[in-house]
Amino acid sequence: MNLDLDPPAAAFRDTVREWLAANVPATALPAPDTPAGSAAHREWEARLAGAGLAAVSWPVEYGGRAAPPLHALLFDEEYFAAGAPVRIGQNGLFLLAPTLLAHGTAEQCARILPPMARGEQVWAQAWSEPSAGSDLAAIRSRARPVDGGWLLSGQKTWSSRAVVADRAFGLFRSSAGERHRGLTYLMFDLRAPGVTVRPIEQLDGTAGFAEIFLDDVFVPDADVIGVPGDGWRVAMSTAGHERGLTLRGPGRFTAAASRLVALAAPVPGPDSADGAATAGGAALPGGAALPRGADLSGGAILSGGAAAAGGAAPPGGADLSGGADLSGGDDLSGALGGRVVDAWIGARAYRMQAYASLDEPVAPSATKLFWSSLDVALHETALDLLGPYAEIDSGWTGAYLFSLAGPIYAGTNEIQRDILAQRELGLPR
């Protein structure tokens, strides 16, 4: 066993680190679910694509680098360590693209992936319905076959990014039959006639998701992924990516744990952050010697939406250093110190598990359970560490609220436990 990087991996990591250091915007972009934020984040995606860094694991012909999985992990670490903007294209990049590469035609890949990488087309997901949440196979929205394509009708909900996105993907019932049969995986235009998008304000104040109403929306045959009626099987590969390493890689949690340690420590110790990020000391964009608690922007990049509201200086000009001192050193020798350590251990465990999974894949359900639980515990610890000052609206509060959604989206944790119990442990239904 070893944790060494081969020369190509080390060189790639250095390239990414240098590019991000030179290009990550110095100030946080506006929230991605606003018109201005959407434009700014699309522009950022275009810059990433220009450097060949938008989707490193994709084939070269679609805008990727055909990089091995380890390189994708390294990119993820560097990206979050550098405090780079939230990926507005994440639904497409991390969920639809793997599905297309596995089940789509060459024509679909060539038509859809390059503009996705450049941020010209932003994708929303359209899975859940009012009566189909955890029980996804209860989908009722229909796809009726017509000449040259399909007519979609029904209602989708909790549709991430639909407010600013251009297109969406999801499952539709295309023929009567058993629950898991007769479903078709389709892509559709959110601006097509018959589509109505109604934003839903989330707990954190952003319009991160929306309802989509479909009234006989035409979709050409070219926008079916896989075989009509085989959508359930096709969709499951997307679900695995959403739960596993692709959407929520370890870099995000490594960076958050580093910020938590910086929040707890009067002066960060040597390599206080873990890993590649730490090796270069990148984990704390604000510098190494922040007074305790001064970095209230902490979680901003995690929630995306919270960046605009949070930032380094909370409203009201509160005396932050005073606030942080209240949760001073002696607290750390007690339970709070132990919780900081446990969050750090958790982030390190996820990172090491990601490395291990290059040789021994881990069940996506286990990964989803782990990171979503870790995220909540980590941010609750940060808030407790800040004490009464945690209440001040900041990057930490935004990230905390966002973490609460983790055990729900991408398949609730109860569903994941059932999957693990049945498929990994072999327990009866």
Binding site: M1, N2, L3, D4, L5, D6, A10, D14, R17, A21, A81, A235, S237, A239, G240, R243, A264, A265, V267, P268, G269, P270, D271, S272, T278, A279, G280, G281, G287, A288, A289, G329, L332, S333, G338, V340, D342, I345, R348, A349, M352, Q353, Y355, A356, L358, A363, A366, L369, R417, D418, I419, A421, Q422, R423, E424, L425, G426, L427, P428, R429
Partner: protein
């Protein structure tokens, strides 16, 4: 980059697993608990033949000179069978302390079994009354010791001996490294025991029927078991990473994963550690110990609950694992102690109040007093006699100080000879992995 056992290490684990399955460790443990260690010594002789006792002994002293990754692979299997005896002590820590080579050939061949104390961190020698060699850390020296009073452990198969210090036998021993390797071996056993507890609970949940269904069909049961599987699956990589961090520095080292050009945002403090070649091995070992211990403890509590009353009986095999996990979780540094060590390194500041340690020591003192009263002995706590290792904060150890990656995957060849021989004796059972397959399949979907 590889954080998984090699094919060779898998075969080694399979051989050990087969050997231990056939040795009936439950019966051996029962005898050991009753004071008859003969079957246990036979089992240890078989482990010695398989190479386990010589893993960390250099070849010139008759050992395998194997790697720390081989150590964790082996100790996980030993933990899976809850092997009786001082595993972390005899296999990992003591061979590391004996740098002058004395007793190493006997340790490697299995002729002697060793245990040790390192007060106050490790106040008693596990199974010190039956070990042939007892050591006690008296920083910076290592002394021999003789067993004093013997205390019952909550684990009926373990006995805890006070150690009366004797002569100095080593003065230049890598004490910190030995303690870290003992901790690593302890963590590996915890992970193994946790996996067995999960397997037992899963089997029970499949077969035990209530309300007309196997109890494993109830979400209240199956969800708890899923949580155990997740905890174990995410503890193992920390164990492997700690083994890598403790790997012997080899000449011709290539780029470890954590080096590279400094990030533009790197402050001077952050670069200091790399410039000085500081190791994070201690921190990484502590992370592994905490994670493996907590996962094993969760497995133990869950397994007992899933079994119900039958699990609470002496004759059921579960109890042996339950008490072993609880004992090992507190041994080789309590979880609190390890968390504090991590926090100290992360924050760059010693955490002033060692409240946890004091609580722990007070508890131990009370327990020892009670135990002595029961045993009718009147000696004072021996760990205050020999225990000059008063500073609970581990000291930096020079041999660890190079770096944190293992540059050359070295030791596999050492194992190959040995288990090829064994493979002839013990045919493989077709099991592929070190673990019971948790988290090893691919795509999963909604239900």
């Amino acid at each position: 980059m590889r954080l998984a056992p090699s094919e060779e290490q898998r075969r080694f684990a399979d051989v050990l697993d087969m050997l231990l399955t056939r040795a009936d460790p439950a019966a051996v443990s029962a005898a050991w608990a009753a004071g008859d260690i003969t079957p246990g010594r036979r089992l240890w002789a078989a482990l010695a033949d398989a190479g386990v006792t010589g893993l960390l002994v250099p070849e010139r002293f008759g050992g395998l000179g194997a790697g720390t990754d081989d150590l964790v692979v082996a100790c996980e299997v030993l933990g899976r069978h809850a092997v009786p005896g001082p595993v972390a002590e005899s296999v990992a820590a003591v061979p590391t302390l004996l740098v002058s080579g004395r007793w190493l050939p006997e340790l490697a061949s299995g002729r002697i079994l060793a245990s040790m104390a390192a007060p106050p961190l490790l106040p008693f020698a596990a199974d010190g009354d039956v070990a042939d060699l007892l050591l006690i850390i008296d920083t910076p020296a290592v002394r021999t010791g003789s067993p004093g009073a013997v205390h019952h452990s909550l684990d009926a198969v373990r006995r805890l001996a006070d150690v009366i210090p004797g002569e100095i036998v080593e003065t230049g021993a890598p004490i910190q490294r030995a303690l870290d390797l003992g901790t690593l071996a302890c963590a590996a056993q915890l992970l193994g025991a946790g996996h067995t507890l999960l397997s037992m609970a899963v089997e029970h949940a499949k077969t035990r029927t209530q309300f007309g269904r196997p109890i494993g069909a109830f979400q209240a049961v199956r969800h708890q078991l899923a949580d155990v599987a997740v905890a174990l699956a995410f503890a193992r990589p920390l164990l492997y990473a700690a083994a890598v961090a403790l790997a012997d520095p080899a000449p011709g080292a290539t780029t470890p994963a954590h080096t590279g050009p400094p990030h533009p945002a790197a402050g001077p403090t952050r670069d200091l550690s790399r410039a000085a070649g500081m190791s994070h091995a201690g921190r990484d070992v502590s992370a592994a110990k905490v994670a493996c211990g907590e996962a094993a403890l969760l497995a133990a509590r869950t397994a007992l609950q899933v079994h119900g009353a039958i699990g609470y009986t002496r004759e059921h095999g579960l109890g042996r694992y339950l008490t072993r996990v609880r004992a090992l979780h507190l041994s080789w540094g309590t979880p609190d102690w390890h968390r504090r060590r991590i926090l100290t390194e992360l924050t760059g500041t010693a955490v002033e109040d060692p409240a946890g340690l004091h609580r722990c020591l007070n508890g131990v003192e009370t327990a020892v007093r009670a135990s002595r009263e029961l045993a009718g002995t009147g000696t004072g706590p021996v760990w205050t006699v020999g225990g000059t290792a008063g500073d609970p904060t581990p000291q930096p150890e020079s041999r660890l100080s190079v770096r944190h990656g293992d540059p050359t995957p070295q030791p596999e060849s050492r194992l190959s000879v040995r288990h090829r021989e064994d493979a002839a004796v013990w045919p493989r059972d077709g099991r592929g992995a070190v673990g019971p397959g948790v988290g090893r399949t691919g795509e999963k979907g909604f239900e």
